[in-house]
Symmetry: C2
Subunit: 355 residues, 2 copies
């Protein structure tokens, strides 16, 4: 069964959205539908090229026999420090993870700083140290950089843009068009921790709770999966801005297949669930910064799960769903209460500046 | 003569400055002494690795037999559009040029946008189009990207960070430690055009003048030099933020040799000179965005100059100085009036947010 499937919706066949807003607003940065419209309505048509058109976490380019991955992300998280991490740690781990889920071993990172005049030097020193420590833990070097300063009132302390290059494993063939009906969907641990930790850290909600960001490098998780699942590893993504719900919607759309989730199987901390209920947000759309979603062939799924659970930060990994032919291009969740509900793309702007 | 020289001052032997400021101010972004103290006092010690320690426009890393160049720059220029260019064009050309002066052929670029909420969509569309056009002209693709949105009042319309990777010419051995006494210093055209165009465009000076930014890709200029000078091509740099004066100071420091300039030979538009006099700034420290400084062995200097002058944007190229053993680690200019003056590193903050 897993070898006969149509992938009618290749990226190039995708209908381009029109970008209708006259001004950019916060929703365009939230990672949901508005962000997609911005990227696919404005950026992709202008820059169109085969690597960009894949819209993956990293562009893959070939150099002789070698495939190189190139990725970039700006980090504008507020506040700069929060329980479990800080902007500097996030900036390194985020780019390391974009390379890792592309099946690439990092060669090096770059870091560009936009500093608001008036920032205390000790804050900057703290973030530089956090970046250096995160890079050391991930086994990657920050090889080049840039610093710019903008006037007080034209920034928010510190923005950091990291880019990374890596060498893609020649054996792996990852991508939405590689997944097959029957494949299992693995999640490496509890969802929503990062986003809720940030919201609580902002202090403008009447919420307390010992929730820490899950920021970490996913390199060892990816290595464990590669070893356990081999060619059965079909797709990986780290569900950051927009959360698990957004990644699975992209997967359904780009594969032309259906994604089925079991709510009972979603790893979710009680404290995060409670906070989400109070805030009226769905943890499926809340950002993670140290979680891996993977699609693995059914035959390798149990071995992959067992391997993932042996890795630090993967102890609570679970098989949360599977790929089916129907409902095509949609994400359907079987709820706690025995019903089903469609998980759509995130609309609106619940969590600005989460990363 | 050109083969016997001591390069006593290797980068690793360089004394690290201490960073003493308690807060970051605009001078730390101006490209002069304060920026150097920030980079070498805070960033380099924390991230220390062989590629970063070179402090070049791009880090060079090896992948098997191949040398790859990785570079990044954030662009925060104000205003977004100015005579002769715009932030989007600058962001592409700047990164293309950092690769070009490293002797690298670009493989691809990334672009990360930090957008202030409230930015008119048409402004964003204009910059995306400018980037696409600049990339097309430079023959390079924008392969991946990121978009973030920050609240109104936490940005300034649009900041763009571009990164690039390229393959370094295996024959070229470029660097400050490669230059030799007797080598000539070539400049590809008039200096200070970009910085003065920006200052006039801001409109807060009582200045008018038909001065346009020189933003352009330097790829053809570098190609012409490589062909004409061969192994006689020793060092290249694009004198952006901090200007020609800063690049030559870095060259003197990192080579351990003396740099001698002839003011008479500096290509300088009368309008730019006039504006600089009124503003009380030295064109040697004013940013360029489409000029190349190169050090070429004396034997190849005339051929290199002739080749450069045949390239569009290189018509006014000149030999502006030479390398000598003395004054070691300093830049000395022979002035119009027959005297000499030391050109030191830029101190203070004459031109914030120039790129």
């Amino acid at each position: 069964m897993s070898d006969t499937v149509m992938t009618s919706a290749t990226p190039s066949a995708r209908r381009r959205p029109r970008f209708g807003a006259t001004h950019i607003d916060m929703s365009h940065g939230a990672g949901g539908k508005a962000t997609h419209n911005l990227i696919e309505g404005l950026l992709v048509p202008a820059f169109s090229n085969p690597a960009l058109d894949q819209l993956s976490d990293a562009a893959v380019l070939t150099l002789g026999e070698t495939r190189l991955a190139l990725t970039t992300d700006s980090f504008v998280v507020r506040p700069l420090r929060f329980p479990g991490g800080s902007i500097g740690e996030l900036a390194v781990n985020g780019t390391v993870n974009d390379l890792a889920v592309s099946g690439a071993t990092p060669l090096g990172l770059s870091a560009a700083f936009i500093i608001e005049a008036g920032l205390a030097t000790e804050v900057l020193i703290g973030e530089i140290a956090a970046m250096a420590a995160a890079a050391r833990r991930a086994g990657v070097a920050i090889m080049t950089g840039d610093t710019k300063v903008v006037e007080h009132g034209k920034g928010d302390g510190l923005y950091i843009t990291t880019s990374g290059i890596g060498v893609v494993d020649p054996v792996l063939q990852l991508g939405a068009t590689t997944v097959r009906p029957g494949d299992k969907i693995l999640c490496s641990g509890t969802i929503g921790d990062h986003g809720v930790a940030i919201l609580i850290a902002r202090g403008d909600l009447e919420l307390e709770g010992d929730i820490r960001s899950d920021t970490r490098a996913l390199t060892p998780h990816v290595a464990a999966l590669r070893q356990a699942a081999g060619a059965g590893l079909r797709f990986m993504r780290d569900p950051t801005r927009g959360g698990v719900g957004t990644v699975l919607n992209e997967l359904a759309r780009d594969s032309g297949l259906g994604v089925v989730l079991w709510e009972d199987q979603l790893p979710l901390r009680e404290t995060v669930q409670g906070a989400c209920e109070i805030l009226g947000i769905d943890p499926l759309y809340v950002a993670n910064e140290g979680k891996l979603l993977a699609v693995v062939a059914a035959e390798q799924a149990d071995a992959a799960l067992a391997a993932l659970r042996l890795v630090e930060g993967g102890e609570e990994a679970a098989i949360i769903g599977e790929i089916r032919t129907e409902p095509a291009r949609m994400v359907l969740m079987h709820t706690h209460f025995g019903g089903t509900r469609l998980i759509d793309m995130l609309v609106g702007d619940p969590l600005p500046r989460i990363c």
